[in-house]
């Protein structure tokens, strides 16, 4: 590129700058060896942001699972609460659980671990809930049948007013070949 006038001046200034830079130029071998050392250095496998994000995700999943389990448990007493007061579940004595939540161990057997007792309580509660639901359904069906029968046999209170002794006469039609005498019976107001 041909330089003219002030370009030459700028070129001179840049040349001076280049000379100055060259005086403090770091040695290539030092820079290269440092780069090589960095290349050989083992990389940090542990990535802190990634680890934190993973831990948060795991916490969220665990709490969600725990919450959903808790929610299912809290829903079961509500099923019992909506049962009509007249219906009493026929619970066997073995299924009755005392207020403490502990099931008394049968005599002669080994005392069971608390985990199995809790499990048994859960199973019996679920069975009870299922039985209650089935009974409720049967009751509802019977009530519906009763209602259907009642509706089909219902009569209006004024239905008797619509019937009269001359119903047969009113509902029958005169025949074409009938005599006048017989026809007069259809005209009760005419003088006989």
């Amino acid at each position: 590129m041909e330089l003219v006038g002030e370009e030459k001046k700028i070129q001179t200034l840049f040349s001076e700058l280049r000379l100055a830079d060259n005086q403090t130029l770091p040695s290539f071998s030092a820079t290269w060896s440092r780069a090589q050392a960095r290349a050989l250095r083992p990389r940090r496998v542990f990535n802190l942001p990634f680890a934190v994000a993973t831990a948060l995700l795991i916490c969220a999943l665990v709490s969600l699972a725990w919450w959903s389990t808790r929610w299912q448990h809290t829903q079961q007493p509500n099923v019992v609460a909506i049962t009509p007061s007249g219906v009493v579940p026929d619970l066997k004595p073995s299924e009755v659980v005392p207020a403490g939540g502990k099931i008394p161990a049968p005599s002669g057997s080994e005392p069971k671990k608390p985990i199995s007792a809790v499990h048994r309580f859960k199973v019996s509660a679920r069975l009870r809930a299922d039985r209650l639901a089935a009974r409720q359904e049967a009751n509802l069906l019977a009530a519906a049948k009763k209602q259907a029968t009642a509706i089909s046999s219902w009569r209006s209170p004024t239905a008797t007013l619509l019937s009269s002794p001359n119903d047969d006469l009113l509902k029958s039609l005169p025949q074409l070949n009938e005599s006048t005498k017989d026809l007069k019976s259809f005209l009760p107001n005419t003088p006989k």
């Binding site: 200034l13 100055a20 130029l25 440092r34």
Partner: protein, 191 residues
Amino acid sequence: MKIDSMDIAELKAELETLHSASFGWALSCCRRDRGEAEDVLQTVYLKILEGKARFRGEAAFKTWLFAVIRKTAAGEYRRKLLRSLKLITGAEQPDDRASPEVGPLATFENSEVQIRFQSALKSLPARQREALHLVFYEDLSLREAADVMGISIGSARQHYERGKKRLRETLDTAEVAYGISWRRKENPDAV
């Protein structure tokens, strides 16, 4: 010349030849911060060693190397900004980087003309400064400068022309302020 066909010794020799020019370019990209320029150059060599920066022979080796330096410097600058933002919120950390050198170079750099010239360069927009540096300092053509900067040759020419104009204006203003005229030096006959 492709990196695949180059063995490490050949590559090292090529980089060594361009080391001085690379450092000058790194200095320009790092706003004349020597420590940062050294770090950038080291990172560039590391990238080349690890194969993260690979020369495919699409341009001249020098052009490709300069483009890598430019990108690395930009990345380092961003990282430095982020660190400084963190420092604002946290406790201040002592800067363990070596203090600016004092010696013949410092004496030279502190010479009046160079001080004015460097401050004028710093006042230029980055693109214009880069265009001027690549043409005047590295002796590249405008096409090569455009390749390094990743822009079209038309844009490179515009940056170059505007940079020259602005540099001249800034230097003129500085001269008036200092009471020195480079035009007078250039044309001794002028009154």
